[in-house]
Symmetry: D2
Subunit: 136 residues, 4 copies
């Protein structure tokens, strides 16, 4: 699991928005994001793209937690439904639906601080065996 924590630590985009990896176990990962006005859209709610960003990342590390440290992974695609607007801290809970040899399918649920179900994501990732997970 250490490789997943280290990989998350290299994600400058997560530090930039203020997100952190708050839980990690085999096949599951939580990414938490405190509310900040900089993350909002035109009506003052957290931007749907930001919600997608933490859900995508939670899914990715749920998958990466099951892979060898010598592998790297890339997001193939994701689909997210925004269920409710949010103006609070968020947590994205990612989990693996099916871990395949090449492709892994994951899902994430995003919740607001008051428990509101904010979004749901379905995602596909591809494992690249024997590929460094660091900048070239």
């Amino acid at each position: 699991m250490q490789h997943a924590r280290e990989s998350f630590g290299r994600q400058k985009a997560m530090a930039f928005i203020g997100a952190s990896l708050t839980a990690l176990e085999p096949g599951k990962a939580d990414v938490s994001l405190p509310y900040r006005p900089e993350l909002t859209q035109q009506k003052g709610y957290v931007h749907g793209g930001i919600i997608g960003m933490i859900a995508d990342t939670a899914c990715g590390y749920a998958a990466y937690s099951l892979m060898p440290a010598t592998a790297s992974l890339v997001t193939v695609e994701y689909k997210i439904n925004i269920l409710a607007p949010a103006r609070s801290s968020l947590v994205a809970r990612g989990e693996v639906v099916k871990a395949g040899r090449t492709l892994t399918v994951t899902r994430a649920e995003v919740y607001a601080a008051d428990g509101t179900h904010v979004a749901t994501m379905q995602q596909t990732l591809m494992m690249l065996a024997n590929t460094p997970d660091t900048p070239e």
Copy 2:
């Protein structure tokens, strides 16, 4: 179209990541994003969530350009395929596929500075008639 420009101007999240609305015509919108290290994932490429963020926004303003200034719109869902990694400036070109009375379906293509096709998105939005597009 002025209402769409003003709405984009209220998106603190776009200013935060450094994105701007670089083209707008009825049913089409471009969102451009200069490269910045803060926007990258663990391997130094622009984060897939950031790519989703500008594509989601380009789709949204393509749709909003066709709506009355008295309406507001919300993202129902989006699905994005990441086609190639990117380590450069990006532009997301959104366009309306079908503008309905309640729902609008849009699409965006994201390109890197060298023309590489980086991502493709399909999105659904819902128009809220007679609803302010500003913070409550």
Copy 3:
């Protein structure tokens, strides 16, 4: 719930492929499909479009079970991941993730007779109030 059963009974496409509504409770619906060679693709597995068809329908009736009999509903969009090939009977289990005033978000899991997880779907539906759910 009777309105949902009657609506399913009007789906000629379900009868055509041999599918039936095998469970229905508020917010949940199962659609079962016996294996038939006519439903297969080039390699002899059940066609991915057929899998999508029963998952789409299971999601739809999970949603419709919560709506008044005077309403009709339409599929806005769905996204399905095929997780494993199947050469057996299938069951699609749909459930409501979020029932909104206009839009409902659902999910379905499709399983083979031996328990294999064959597919997972995320779907969006729109309720049309006071609209007949019958042919015009």
Copy 4:
């Protein structure tokens, strides 16, 4: 291209619903479907799952047209927006967005006989090199 035509010919599900491969060129494929009452849902429109089925297949053969005859391909996932109800013959026009070494991303547009834009799909496929495209 002959391998793609032969593969389509092995799809019993296409014959079952009455669909045929009406155009095929490198990276593009059309699947046409005459209207039949057996393909309809509760309101008499062509079932959304049937629309997904021909779009999925058009995308698949658009992709397969670019692959060697020694390869096989599987649908990883697809996402479809239903844009308008249809009570007529349909044609699904699939095309390749990005052909990768392992994964190919495609898109399809579905049109009714009167030109109405009925649906739009975005799909991901995986190529299996040196794998027979026939039943085991």
